[in-house]
Amino acid sequence: MNYSLGNMLGRRMALASLDPDAKGYIDAVVAAGGTVSGTQRTALNTFYETGKVEGWLPSLKRLYLPIWGVAAPNAICMTSLTSGTFVGGVTHGSGFVKGNGTTGYFDMGISPNTLGMLTTSGHMAALTKVTAGAGARVMIGASDALTDRMQMYKASGSIFSRYIESADGQISGVASDTGIITSSRTPGNRRLYRRSTSARSLVASNTLPDAVVMPTRNCFAMASSTLIGASFFSDAEFGAYGLGMGMNDAVDEAYSLALKNLWERTTGLTLP
């Protein structure tokens, strides 16, 4: 009896003290058919509160947590509460989504340019649970032309990041595409990181000058927008993906750790 009462009071207090942004996202997920447990509510609340305390939450323009096993809640952005669109063959699993590698992808419904991302400031992130197959497989990407590309992808045992430049500005390194891959652009600097369950490492970086313009085509996950539509489809399992403004090393580290904690606590799974 005492235990039950304590439990009820604890749950009510937890619900009453939810961060308003966490509550907004949870309400949207539930309205779309997602089931959010008490543990998941707490994890989501911690993520938003941590992001505000550490200062990286306002940098996130779009972030999706497609763990709910249903398309509608999986399509909801955690920061804007807008919905993107799943297109083609996409599996909605428990804790992840997976494109079929030939037709399936996620259209965020907005371009990096419209989001206000800058040639000198941008960030991409993807949490990959299971690696993609052979070939060039884009995690997240938008492309207007060969010199206006913002893409993070896996190919030939390496991971790559392009941020608004041609091959000169592409950075890459031999690394698995599993874990949390983040790519950040700040003035005069590009960096590509991988966080696994046990460590975070800098995969590649360079300091080439800033260039050209931001893509005006929509940003996709599990593929890249291109002049003929979606291309470079991925068949990896993704637990999260998003983009926003540039982050320095410390901020990127804090954000990717918070994303790891969020995904692990909401899914009960362990980051590869």
């Binding site: 779309a32 058919g33 997602g34 089931t35 096993g69 249903v70 398309a71 509608a72 399509a75 807008t82 919905s83 993107g84 669109t85 799943f86 297109v87 083609g88 063959g89 996409v90 599996t91 909605h92 079929n100 030939t102 037709t103 399936g104 070939g135 060039a136 884009v138 492309s143 060969l146 893409q151 992808y153 190919a155 030939s156 390496s158 790559f160 392009r162 041609s166 091959a167 592409q170 890459s172 291109t226 002049l227 003929i228 539509g229 979606a230 291309s231 470079f232």
Partner: protein
Amino acid sequence: MIGFVVTPEQAQAVNAAIAEAQTSRGMPVFWLAGSNPIYTGEHAGECFIPCDDATLATPLIGHPPQTPQDFPEFAVIIESMGGLDARIEIPAADISQQPEPEPESI
């Protein structure tokens, strides 16, 4: 890959109808069957709308989740393409032309 081979205009109309089924219920467009240009093979120049069993069973919305087949509009859309029996198999390579050089090769 199994799905419908249609004209580009039909593909556009099909996806517009799927979008309308969502917006008419006050929902955002969170799911589309999509369509892919066919570049090579017997049906080059036409469009492919993927429609395998997994697509038909996609959990879309609600708890328990509704699938495309739970929406009455979906049956009408499928019929407009000749019904499920009109689906055909095409090789994935027929829709896989890349618009740019392989990323790692440039």
